[in-house]
């Protein structure tokens, strides 16, 4: 049992940001363990993503190529990943917990009878022993886990690990996995895709996010937040409370179980700062909070705070910032 195998998701021949994060962390793990960094690339076409994985530092890339794997389908990808792990026999299998990682890791861990650790934000390697560190209780405590099985499946919290850089100097080998699959393996079948009507900037990728919470009191004020976001070239997000109230669609939910964001600037308006919300903005560089309650937990995370009713702040702020950004 040797090596660190990283599940490296791709979209149309490009490794995803999640894959690069997992490869970055995987490189650090492999170096500390003095073992090889191995990548797993699954899809209809795998050549371009495999080349990227090598450029990102993989010593070897294992590939599963099949036309029916063009789109992520949990049952099919699970079978592919299981075959790959059985062939490669790695010590660690690393995922970033995007939607594919969340679907695959638990079931694969069960099938391989491996240790499973999720939401990992940090790790310490001492010889061959790894301590897996992750937030629990909504970030109020940190837990340290050690595996009791020879093999562990490790889920990294998204946007918490430095992504690998494609420097092109790698010279890894590409090895196809011996695996065949047909449609009958796909038990759960997607019968319809329903696009939410999203406009503007992608929340997950936005450099600026303006988010509103229960303190807004209703759906109407989100139009004001949109104005501010438009001005700053950003996206509008919301707390779970605002989504559960039906003011905005759940696709706008920022938090541990909504969209995890890591913008340069996060402006939280009328958001008290529940733990799961704070966990979803851990990667934000600067957090500004506007809330009338000076005791609101959001101020513990915020870099800059305004204690006031947002209604008295927002119009002037928009006007002043319009001058700043020259719009």
């Amino acid at each position: 049992m040797q090596g660190v195998l990283v599940f490296s998701g791709q979209q149309a021949g490009q490794l995803t940001r999640a894959a690069l994060e997992a490869l970055g962390a995987g490189r650090r793990l492999a170096s500390a363990l003095n073992e090889e960094l191995l990548a797993l690339v699954v899809g209809a076409d795998v050549e371009r993503a495999a080349a990227q994985a090598i450029a990102a530092g993989a010593d070897a890339v294992f590939t599963v190529a099949n036309p029916i794997l063009a789109e992520f389908q949990a049952d099919l990808y699970l079978a592919a990943a299981e075959a790959a792990v059985r062939q490669v026999d790695p010590r660690l299998v690393v995922f970033t917990l995007d939607s594919a990682g969340r679907d695959l890791l638990p079931r694969l861990a069960y099938r391989l009878n491996a240790a499973a650790v999720t939401e990992v934000t940090d790790f310490q390697v001492d010889g061959k022993v790894v301590k897996w560190i992750r937030p629990v209780y909504g970030g109020k405590a940190m837990a340290v886990y050690q595996q009791l099985r020879e093999r562990a499946l490790v889920g990294l919290r998204a946007k918490m690990h430095e992504p690998a850089v494609l420097d092109g100097s790698g010279s890894g080998r590409v090895v196809p996995v011996d695996f065949t699959v047909d449609e009958s393996t796909a038990v759960a079948r997607v019968v319809e895709r329903i696009q939410a009507t999203l406009s503007g900037v992608n929340l997950a990728e936005a450099r600026v996010v303006v988010a509103g919470g229960r303190g807004l009191g209703g759906p109407e004020p989100f139009a004001e937040l949109q104005k501010l976001a438009d001005l700053l070239g950003g996206a509008v997000g919301a707390s779970r409370a605002a989504c559960d109230a039906g003011w905005v669609p759940p696709s706008m939910q920022v938090g541990q179980t909504g969209t995890i964001v890591a913008p340069d600037l996060y402006i939280a308006i009328g958001i008290s700062g529940a733990s799961q919300h704070i966990a979803g903005i851990a990667g934000a560089r600067t957090v500004i909070a506007i809330n009338k309650d000076p005791e609101a937990p959001i101020f513990k995370r915020a870099n800059i705070g305004i204690v006031a009713d947002y209604k008295t702040v927002l119009p002037t702020l928009i006007e002043q910032l319009r001058a700043v950004v020259g719009a």
Partner: protein
């Protein structure tokens, strides 16, 4: 249709960070004055279960792994028209990892009449592992649909609406199936009626122990061990913008953002 909802009881996640303490010897949080509550995703799962029972008929069964205190969670499910309540517990279970919880749930379901649909929260608000639901699907040899927002019968199959990149997708699965549920406007938990809360206190909770469950000891072996739990140092460095009123503070903030080149 037999619909089983697995519920988890957790330490109130809204306990403020300043009140959160860890017992350094047991490596567990100290409960203090905090309440134990139903995990919020469990509530969403229960709501999906209630809606599914309304559409398909059949029985709604609530299952919980926990000691006597967890009866409160099951009573709430009974008050929300669950037909049966089952609690699995053995005092020896102090540190069950996710695979062990999945194994206990699978055996509890098997021992009490099986299931056509099993619903769980996508992950719990305490340790947020997100493992138990999909592992339970593997235990039962059933398909798994994650981050479901609702479900309805479709012939001999189940049509599940789930969150997907940029919207939703509809997935069809044969039964039995396991769904992990995420919060959505379609599954906001309803409140029980007062008379149903009263009725629920008189309904039985069936308690299953190790002997009833016929557990496989190898499945109960933990895969991971918690070696430390600690409260991280979180220095608040928030700089409050001063001003006489809202507009004055807004002006001061705009100035600050410009000076610091944050914008």
């Amino acid at each position: 249709m037999r619909i089983v909802v697995c519920l988890k009881q957790i330490l109130d996640p809204e306990v403020p960070a300043k009140d959160f303490r860890v017992d350094p010897t047991t490596k567990r949080p100290i409960q203090g004055n905090a309440k134990l509550v139903v995990d919020s995703y469990s509530e969403n799962a229960l709501e999906v279960g209630i809606q599914l029972k309304e559409k398909s008929g059949g029985k709604l069964v609530a299952v919980c792994v926990g000691d006597k205190r967890a009866d409160e969670v099951l009573r709430r499910a009974l008050a929300l028209t669950a037909d049966e309540a089952i609690r699995a517990w053995d005092p020896a279970w102090q540190e069950l990892d996710a695979a062990a919880v999945a194994h206990v749930l699978a055996r509890a379901i098997r021992a009490t009449g099986g299931a056509d649909v099993v619903l769980l929260g996508r992950q719990s608000g305490d340790v947020e592992r997100g493992l138990v639901g999909p592992m339970l699907a593997e235990e039962l040899g059933a398909p798994c649909v994650t981050v479901a927002t609702g479900a309805e019968p479709a012939g001999d199959r189940l049509r599940v609406r789930r969150e997907a990149e940029g919207g939703y997708e509809a997935v069809e699965v044969p039964l039995p199936a396991v769904l992990t549920v995420t919060n959505d406007e379609a599954n906001v938990p309803r409140l029980p009626k007062v008379k149903d809360v009263m009725m629920a206190t008189r309904k039985p909770v069936k308690v299953l122990g190790t002997g009833d469950l016929q557990l496989d000891p190898s499945r109960m072996d933990p895969g991971v061990v918690l070696t430390d739990l600690y409260v991280p140092e979180m220095d608040s460095t928030c700089e409050f913008v001063e001003g006489d009123d809202g507009p004055a503070k807004a002006t001061a903030l705009a100035t600050l953002l410009r000076e610091r080149k944050i914008l």
